[in-house]
């Protein structure tokens, strides 16, 4: 399994647990309203579930995002051959003998 697949699975797990903690918070608040208590502190289980799902999500996002690429031209040029460099558009020549040969053929 590739790292991106593992990341996606972890991301979905954390998303579902975050939704569950949302629903639990709502349930707890409506329970407090029914028994007519003042909401001062949330239960520690819900807070821990929420924070743990955020932690899992951060790991999954780092896994999903692909690797960074080194930006130094020096390191990039090591991998290229001289033929590849010479055929780049800057070296195209349009003012060559082909024009005369083509007109003499007509």
């Amino acid at each position: 399994m590739s790292t991106a697949t593992i990341g996606k699975v972890l991301g979905w797990i954390s998303f579902v647990t975050l939704l569950h903690s949302t629903y639990s918070t709502y349930e707890h608040l409506s329970y407090l309203k029914v028994v007519e208590k003042v909401a001062n502190n949330m239960p520690i289980e819900i807070i821990v579930e929420c924070l743990v799902s955020v932690l899992i999500f951060s790991i999954s996002i780092v896994l999903i995002a692909g690797p960074l690429k080194p930006i130094l031209m020096k390191n990039e040029m090591v991998k290229k051959s001289i033929d590849k460099v010479d055929t780049r558009p800057s070296f195209n020549t349009f003012n060559h003998r082909g024009r005369i040969i083509k007109s003499s053929l007509n």
Partner: protein
């Protein structure tokens, strides 16, 4: 030294890779801002505590990028090594506030329309 002139400075880096790295960092930052904003809304943070939570989570995100993505050598992937700590932090703040207020309104708000429907659906189906 010849490499100090602006022309040579520009050809020192591969532009496609610079853009690719910036895009990757922006993706991580915006996703993290959204999910951290949701968490702040669920936890019911208000006022300064929400912004302190953002500062902490943004610092944690930067640490993750620095340690996992750049392997503690940000100089290889960014023109300026400290970009890894600052890139997109203020852009992420706006999506953080968006999700923070949205989830706070859904869970702790006065009307709670979405949650009432969800609760009814659960009561009927389970």
């Amino acid at each position: 030294m010849a490499s100090q002139s602006p022309q040579n400075q520009a050809s020192l880096y591969v532009p496609e890779n610079v853009v690719h790295n910036t895009k990757t960092i922006t993706f991580i930052r915006s996703s993290m801002s959204a999910i951290n904003g949701s968490a702040a809304g669920i936890l019911g943070l208000t006022g300064y505590s929400g912004f302190i939570f953002y500062a902490l989570t943004a610092l944690f995100t930067s640490f993750l990028i620095w340690s996992v993505k750049t392997n503690t050598h940000p100089g290889i992937y960014f023109r300026n090594g400290s970009d890894v700590w600052t890139e997109g932090v203020f852009g992420g703040l706006f999506s953080y506030v968006l999700f923070w207020t949205l989830l706070y309104g859904i869970v702790h708000g006065t009307y709670k329309t979405i949650m009432v429907h969800l609760h009814k659906w659960f009561m009927v189906n389970f």
